[in-house]
């Protein structure tokens, strides 16, 4: 289902994750920012096994800059073609230095939204963010996601129980709210890089 998908943007490309990304993605998971994500693999071998075991129904992307450097990851999972919804997740900018001044996170999410709503014809995306990650909650909301509720004490992250903030986005909200703001941030970076 997903073996040929590649999403091209102006600053980044999303290509499917491969087993040989195991060492790099594992190293990202050890970084400071990743402390706010769910616990991942304990070593590179486990990470490789996890990648190899991903079902064909998932889209697990690597975010690459245009020079080919892999800087992060992002996934679309739980795709339900009857109810036309899916879950975004596993979102991490692993190489933070390479992402400075580049709208990598914004464009990567825009490419994922376009893929979900325009190619897969979904009408709704949802995801959860740990309540101890207010930067990500703020970011997702500014770019169109709506808070739909909380699952209390859902995650044990960073040494404490945290709520899962449930966020959702409908296709028309993406087109009227998310994409204009995403395009503005991409345009700002374009001018700065000109």
């Amino acid at each position: 289902m997903n073996d040929t998908v590649k999403l091209d943007g102006e600053f980044v490309t999303l290509r499917l994750m491969r087993v040989d990304d195991a060492a790099l993605t594992f190293s990202w998971r050890q970084a400071a920012r990743a402390r706010l994500l769910n616990a991942g693999a304990a070593n590179v071998e486990q990470q490789a096994a996890w990648i190899a075991s991903r079902p064909g129904s998932e889209y697990n992307f690597i975010i690459e800059l245009k020079d080919g450097r892999a800087i992060g990851m992002l996934s679309l999972v739980g795709i339900n073609k009857i109810n036309r919804h899916a879950e975004t997740g596993r979102f991490l900018i692993g190489d933070e230095e390479a992402a400075k001044g580049v709208p990598a996170a914004v464009e990567a999410m825009k490419l994922l939204y376009e893929f979900a709503f325009d190619k897969l014809d979904l009408i709704r995306l949802h995801g959860t963010v740990a309540s101890g990650n207010p930067l990500m909650v703020k970011w997702q909301k500014y770019l169109g996601m709506k808070e739909e509720g909380r699952m209390r004490s859902h995650y044990f992250i960073d040494g404490k129980w945290q709520d899962a903030v449930v966020l959702g986005l409908l296709a028309d909200e993406a087109r009227t709210q998310s994409f204009p703001r995403m395009n503005a941030l991409i345009a700002a970076a374009r001018r700065s890089h000109a």
Binding site: G101, L185, A188, S192
Partner: protein, 99 residues
């Protein structure tokens, strides 16, 4: 009417808020000349959005009307408002002075 010093204070407070949320190895020096999202950028787009949200909110509250830093007008500026603290300050002052 907001003056330039008050707007600068809002921007620096947003940068400080961001610093408070970042891990120890991600913190940066926030000041009137800090590069933001342009050349020699300090911020990635995750961090930039945090600053935009805080600044838009605080300036809008102080002005009593909403401002947007990511609308068509912001996009059409010859110099990106997000290059550094000074370009952001100058762009906000344009919006403030229109009131």
């Amino acid at each position: 009417m907001l003056n330039k010093e008050a707007v600068l204070e809002i921007i620096l407070r947003a940068l400080q808020n961001l610093n408070d949320e970042l891990g120890d190895d991600e913190k940066f020096e926030a000041g009137p000349n800090t590069p933001l999202f342009g050349p020699n950028a300090t911020l990635d787009s995750l961090a930039l959005v945090s600053v935009i949200v805080d600044v838009e909110g605080d300036v809008s509250t102080a002005l009593g009307r909403s401002i947007s830093l990511t609308d068509d007008r912001a996009m059409s500026q010859e110099i990106s408002p997000f290059d550094d603290v000074q370009t952001l300050l100058n762009y906000i002052m344009i919006l403030v002075n229109e009131g």
